[in-house]
Amino acid sequence: MSDAESPSDEFEPIEVFPDDETPDLRPGADDCYKCSTCDTNCPVAEVDDDFPGPKFQGPEQWRLKRKEDTSVDDSISKCSNCMRCDSACPSDVPLSQMHNTARAEYVDEELSKTSLTYWRNRVLANYRTSAFLASKVPRVANAAMNFGPARWAMDRLFGITSEREFPAFATETFREWWEREGGADGSRERARAARERRGEEGEEKKVAYFHGCYANYNTPAVGKAMVRVFEHFGYELVVPKQRCSGTPMFANGMLDDAERHAKVNVSSMGDLVEQGYDAIASCTSCSMALRQEYPELFDIDGIEDLAENTWEALEYLRVQEDLSGELSAATVEDENIAELAYHAPCHARNQGLDGQALELFADLAGVDAEDVGDSCSGISGTYGWKSEKYDTSMKIGDEMFEHMEDVEGEVGMTECPTCAMQMEHGTGYEIKHPLEIVESALV
């Protein structure tokens, strides 16, 4: 065939696989082979032409830094830490770990400690502290935080967007409710009764609940659902002392803050793990932090043990109990949640949990949960709260909002509290956690 004849000696006309795809047989070689798969998965690069993308932020910048005396490029602060690049990379390049360390270095070395950006990021990252103070006077805080002139000032002077409503603080925190319900002692009794009912008298079933900041201060209904569902399956819960999981701090390059909090969590949760408890989180970013980011970033005694024994709530019940069986035998009567628009958070995706809720509810009578596509919600924790990131955040979210509007009914569902915030902000829907659906079905 003349078509395929070689036109010149240098040129190889028979192109089989494009370019340098020769598999690397060398061990320990730099794993990135520049396939750009990560770049095509990055929600920020998708809408922001000036963001160079994960391949640059990760392996390329890392190499540059090693070779020359270059400082970290400020574009790193545009990465929202959604970690999508991590699960996309076919070559196991630890991208988010590279981003996290580069960001911390950038904040350490490039960002002035007296700049407003630094302190704005620090306040956002330390959400728990603000929430803790606000929860002491929730009604005043709710009013003050969303008070027009104050919001305007925050936006102009501090860079916290006034487009968003601050999440409402619960008038009773989850922990206050938990104490009122009798704490661990109350749980033991209720769980024992449940085990008797289930014919599991001899069994030991104990879990330690990592509720995170959001379920405690803002959405205690999620924490309550967690307690009721686990007790239904005969589990005794304890709610150990805990600080922020660190997710917002990683995203803002505040690794020192994150480590301080991590130490508290690893110590209190770790002790319980040692005593045979499994650690359960209801927030997928918290479970991600405990399982992956902690051991990747910190060297704390007991961190590996904790990581290995941490589970996401439904994942745990699915593996340890016949959750799918019980759900397929149940019926939900609540009209309000008959149609659900489900968004899989990026961090759930990264843990392979993105299909779980839909799979579990497929056979649950009275509930029709529909996926709103695999796009990122765009908020990525504190990211969408920054004035300069607000537009990017909403642009990323557009695809999800559109799909949500297509779903019948006006209730959304997701595991991540900040995705829930974005879903509500973009559509006005009420947002539920899958645990709340399980609670309606089984308890």
Binding site: V16, F17, L25, T37, D39, P90, A307, G355
Partner: protein, 415 residues
Amino acid sequence: MAIEDDVLVVGGGVAGMTAALAAAEAGASVRLVTKSQSTLRHASGLVDVLGYADGDLLADPFAALDDLPADHPYAKVGVEAVRDGLARFDAVTGERYRGGHTDRNALLPTHGGAVKPTARYPASAAAGLASDERDALLVGFETLSDFDAPLAADHLRAADVPFDVRGATVSFPGTPRADAKVTRYAHALDGNDDEERERLAARVARVHDGEPRVGFPAVLGEAHPGDVRATLADALDADVFEVPMGPPSLPGIRLEADYERALREAGVNVVRRPVVDYEADGEHLTAAVVERNGQHVPHHAESFVLATGGLVGEGIDSDRGGVREPVFDCHVPHPADRYDWFVDERFGEQPYPRFGVVVDDDLRPRDAEGRIEFENLRAAGSVVGGADFAAECSGMGVSLATGDAAGSAAGADTQ
């Protein structure tokens, strides 16, 4: 209790997705566990069955299948499995792919200006066939260095294609940054928010000299490629085609979307995490252990398909010590001396692309002594040894044929 299905497929490339669809069609409940995105996103989007044998370009791949060595995957599954695999592909892609009307290879121009034999090609590339005698204009974008249209045209002319071809470079409307992701072009054209399609057509019209067909780099839309081409074709009064590009590739991304839709419709549950270990009762596999960021979760099934890819997909792992299949630890024959894995001549026949697990006619991996590794495990795709996908142009074809055969058999075993 726990996570349990009839069939569990490990690896979500073309082979794994095909196996999952075949098993689901056989009536099995199927779960697909895969680590990261498959090589589909890098692949050109062309579906090769067999392009070359002993270095010769083949006009009809089916006529050459019988002559392949006995350890070639095609020889194991037989020609009917190749047809079944392609039929399943056609069912997944429908109108979006062409080439099913004939057994013969089509010749497609590539972004480097080479000509590539292939069995199926995206409808978007159809007007670009090298066997078509109409003259062509190739258009590149200033900011997209991967496609140098004038150079590609030179190469095509030098390859003696039966038509006249010319290349021109225009700037893409909105001038994206020099290293913009290919998806940026695609999405700009999809959305058409600033009339990118019309503006692009106007710029091309200035260099267009009445050629009846105009080729663009394959970035003409991700969600609405048909509409994008139609707008350009209308404005230019010419047929518009895409030239397949290197990774990451829009035709590959679109194909991946087609498969994901098919999997959803077939009720296959997909889990995106790696399998790191297995549980077995003697020679009977009981579970594949899925790693979830530190957590190890057994996924039980009656029958398993291994479709983790070759050296690129990490289904076959190599280091100085040797070559292995890391999930089920199946036997992978290879020379003991690693200097025997390659030959030095650049175009010499390389041993290493053929590395992979050894299977029997039922695609069950065999150990070094020829015994079945696990009675309920089959392998498919480039994890299976014996084919040099790149040199013989058989990548997708082998994955479709073995995926279909392994999935159908696994599904049938559980019913």
